[in-house]
Symmetry: C2
Subunit: 594 residues, 2 copies
């Protein structure tokens, strides 16, 4: 079975040429993130991803995490790999220097995250959740919480979790029932059950720091009465050593379709008197704090989709080069051929490749905007970048993850019958990918966020700004070689523009119709935004070729953009039709008539 190889050439391209590492490098604080340093980081990460994490991926699937008597044992080899991960400083890549991190731009750490997920998504989830917990404590925690927990969480000696979901409270966090009763000493007693807690229990580290949503006795109903607490697995003594076991236990872990290596815990808080918890920030503002982190977490899940797509592509490509079956159509007297020579197999490979590159390009551009939004000296530039980031998060999350399912499924298809046999590994990618469109907000939740908070609320201003940029790109594509791409991209932009106008005009008077169209709109936006970035890529590539520096990499970018236009961007007008006309059938039918 082939191991993961980080797509270093394309990562370099998107970071340096498409997303503007040079500009990010000039932001105050990121002066050290030079192209040379970034390449060095990428190369080391690629070694770790391919050499350490990838070989453990299949064992994670077949062995899985095991639960016994409230304790969870991870797959053999994972504890050692996690130790190396911490040792290598990888856990702190994106954390600010002042809390012990490597202080690398999000543009860089995001691309490294793609490598972890491509190599071993179930493993990568653990540091991803820790990052979220770090961010919560860093942004809103007291100095005491920061001093007590951050250093070891940043280093990775301890991991973090996010405890949101309860059986009755999934997408609807207003329904959270876990109780938090103040003890008069600044601490709270936490009592309740949380489900779907990723790495909620494991044997990788000595301690686990749970961030938990709960209600205080005086809290108002609904979303305005939810507070955020730190609940460590082991209490931490004043000298930093571990104290007593806290009253939080793993009651069971789930039997899931995929990511078997990642334990999904049911956690019981307070079955023996109450788990000790510490308030983060102020009471009743827990959901607000969660939303601060939500964008980052959703973006990270989008990166999971890209990583798994790349891995599925690599595996299918290796199989297609290796598997000999049938003769080549249209070639007289040829013998048996590797299936990569069969046109439909090429189409599937191109569909995997082109979409993965489009997703990566868009994610990189959004990551660079995150860096600008955080550090740009100019307030207007910051605000513009933040508006772009906010608009694009549901696309990076929703579009990349939905695509990853289709891409992993294509990977299975390329394997033929062997794709259905688990030992090939192709099926695992599909099973793993399937969760990405669900957790951290389903695609429907992303789409509702897109049409509501991100489009209707500003009357489509941010979307129109993006449309203007897209049109600039389309108009910059000159000459015969770009005629087809320009035409298809322009038609896609027009389709998206019509759809945005529909959303803005109808969200107020007819929100249900707009919501009924919201996922087709999200998909349409993703397709066009991906085409925009591939068109930019093609334009850059054409520049190199014109300057006589046209390597195969750049020539292929032209082909990839063209393929994407014909096979993916061409779907845009049809989706706009569904957006603008599609609500009727959805809403007219009575509940009984289904």
């Amino acid at each position: 079975m082939s191991e993961y190889t980080a797509p270093l050439r394309d990562l370099q391209f998107v970071v340096e040429e498409l997303a503007g590492l040079d500009a990010v490098n000039k932001l105050p604080g990121y002066e050290e993130a030079t192209p040379d340093l970034v390449q060095a980081v990428f190369e080391e990460a690629a070694k770790f991803a391919g050499g350490v994490l990838s070989p453990l991926n299949r064992a994670g699937d077949t062995n899985g995490a095991r639960w016994k008597d409230t304790e969870v044992t991870t797959t053999p080899g994972w504890k050692n790999a996690y130790g190396q991960f911490v040792e290598g400083g990888w856990n702190a890549l994106a954390c600010p220097g002042e809390i012990g991190g490597q202080n690398l731009p999000r543009l860089v750490s995001a691309m490294v995250e793609e490598m972890w997920n491509g190599a071993n998504m179930a493993f990568a989830l653990c540091p991803m959740l820790t990052r979220g917990a770090i961010e919560a404590i860093e942004l809103r925690g007291s100095e005491h919480l920061k001093e007590t927990y951050l250093p070891k969480m940043v280093s990775g000696e301890w991991t973090g979790t996010m405890n949101l979901t309860e059986p009755q409270a999934g997408s609807d966090l207003a329904a959270v029932r876990t109780r938090a009763v103040p003890q008069g000493d600044g601490s709270y007693k936490i009592d309740g059950q949380k489900i779907f807690i990723t790495y909620g229990e494991h044997d990788l580290t000595d301690n686990i720091i749970h961030l938990v949503l709960a209600r205080t006795p005086t809290a108002p109903e609904g979303v305005k009465g939810i507070s955020l607490f730190v609940v460590p697995k082991f209490m931490v003594n004043a000298d930093g050593s571990l104290g007593e076991r806290n009253d939080v236990r793993c009651v069971s872990i789930e039997h899931k379709m995929g990511i078997h290596g990642s334990p999904t815990a049911v956690l019981a808080f307070g079955q023996a008197g109450g788990a000790v918890g510490y308030l983060v920030g102020e009471e009743n503002r827990g959901l607000e704090y969660m939303f601060i982190m939500m964008n980052a977490a959703r973006y990270s899940v989008g990166i999971e989709g890209i990583g798994i797509s790349e891995r599925a592509y690599q595996r299918a490509l290796a199989y297609a080069r290796d598997r000999v079956q049938g003769a080549e159509a249209g070639v007289k007297g040829g013998g048996k051929a590797a299936i990569i020579r069969h046109p439909d197999v090429r189409r599937m490979l191109m569909l995997m490749k082109a979409q993965t590159e489009a997703m990566r390009a868009l994610a990189a551009v959004v990551a660079a905007a995150m860096d600008t939004a955080q550090l740009a000296p100019d307030a207007a530039e910051k605000a513009k970048a933040q508006a772009f980031v906010d608009l694009m998060i549901p696309i990076v999350k929703g579009w990349s993850t939905e695509n990853s399912i289709d891409i992993a499924s294509l990977g299975v298809q390329i394997h033929g019958g062997m794709g259905f046999i688990e030992e090939t590994g192709a099926a695992q990618h599909l099973r793993d990918a399937r969760i990405t469109a669900i957790y951290e907000g389903t695609t429907g939740i992303q789409a509702a966020d897109l049409v509501g908070r991100k489009m209707a609320r500003d009357n489509g201003h941010a979307a129109k700004t993006v449309i203007a940029s897209m049109r600039e790109t389309a108009e910059s594509l000159k000459g015969e070689e770009f005629a087809a791409l320009r035409e298809t991209l322009s038609a896609g932009i027009d389709a998206f523009d019509r759809s945005v106008q529909y959303v803005v005009a109808n969200y107020g008077p007819d929100v249900r119709s707009v919501l009924a169209s919201s996922v087709p709109l999200l998909k349409l936006f993703g397709i066009v935004a991906g085409g925009w970035q591939l068109a930019r890529s093609a334009s850059i590539a054409a520049g190199h070729i014109a300057a006589g520096k046209g390597s195969d990499f750049y020539k292929t970018k032209l082909i990839t953009a063209r393929f994407y236009a014909d096979h993916v961007l061409s779907q845009a007008p049809g989706l706009a039709h569904a957006v603008v006309n599609g609500a009727g059938g959805t809403l007219e039918i009575s509940d009984q008539a289904f």
Copy 2:
């Protein structure tokens, strides 16, 4: 967990009103297949599907078939269920009366097959394979073979298998290497290994009759040197009793992504001196015989896709009615609502429902054409029906199965996080569905068959005949209420028409480009053909409504057709773009540049 409920109302509608049971009932031999009889059969089948097969579906997944020492044990309960299946005469539903069957039209037996697959696809595979083996022996076997094997295969006392694939011979059957050496007594000694043999070994019956592709010593190379043999697991004595164990052993079974209840065997023939086999028909014509059966088998796999889609829909619908989460958007002062009230969940349910009904409608119309092709007294009518069947088989197979994957995936999505947890059952449907687009010819193989044998060979004649019928339907949609449907359907037909012209014009000079476009074309054809059938359904429904007999069922048909037009048919022009323009990117890229 909800059990399967056969969609009896829709089955009655498609059989009686859409596919023309009255005309099939008039065919010589099918005089007994009156609407009353058919309804009685459907109702009994529904009871068996929902009451016996469905409750075993989950156990089949979790327990699976087990291999030990060349023997396979099926899931507890399966042997008993199979016994009831045989007892009830279900195995022989479609077989001619003269060999002991129930002699029901394919139109009827196909819809019953949908029920078996909706209830328990892994179980349904066993009789499906037996039917294929029966057909081979019936069509080309000697009288002695027929007398020896058919009665017990038709009753279901013995099952049958199809042994095509070998490790180096998957889609490419020309590469088959299994040897068959004549013994001078009319028998052959078979020697070789076959893989992916569905129900190649099991404990449901006393004997298993393998149909095996192999090469005789004097056979020419390639596809023209393959012969077909009957190889029983146990030899059959002259009195019909079982004799010695034949030299065919199950070496292992596969660990698959889904259909765990169906043992997928690796069979070794001749490890202890040679398995005794009997030639079917003539030497070197094995592949030709297989192709006779292939249409039937491919059609049946299409039915699997429809059955699993219906099951996934039912499960998602039950969950959506039951799961309360969040408040209804756009409804002031409303409390928490079942998720079926959320517009995007409705959209997903409608997408599942509308596509499943479109697939079922098309499959029923094709089944009726099979009956006409077999029994119509008029030769021209027979030939026309056969041409239609031949054209549509790759669509029923390829389109229904590709859709079933997306539909089952939507079912997972509607469950949110619970969809990823195996105990819900939604994930199983996706894992099960995934194989349908692969076996009996991948979607790429179906699409190659479509553009080559079914379109280019007759210069698009059969396709143009269908296009003319589609246009008639579109033009018959009169009035304002049908304006949107008519417009979208017409645009879809135009898109398909352009694509057929492209295929016919380019298959000769540029077969590789046409093959590169073949799967988008297959999908386009399916979408438009499904829209055609839903438009016919809507038209029939409108007639009932105008006549004052408009039940909710008929009113819903209008909504479903409209939804399908806006969300599915609207994709047709984009797909035609990919068909006509999409070959370039696929074929230009060098193998190394992937």
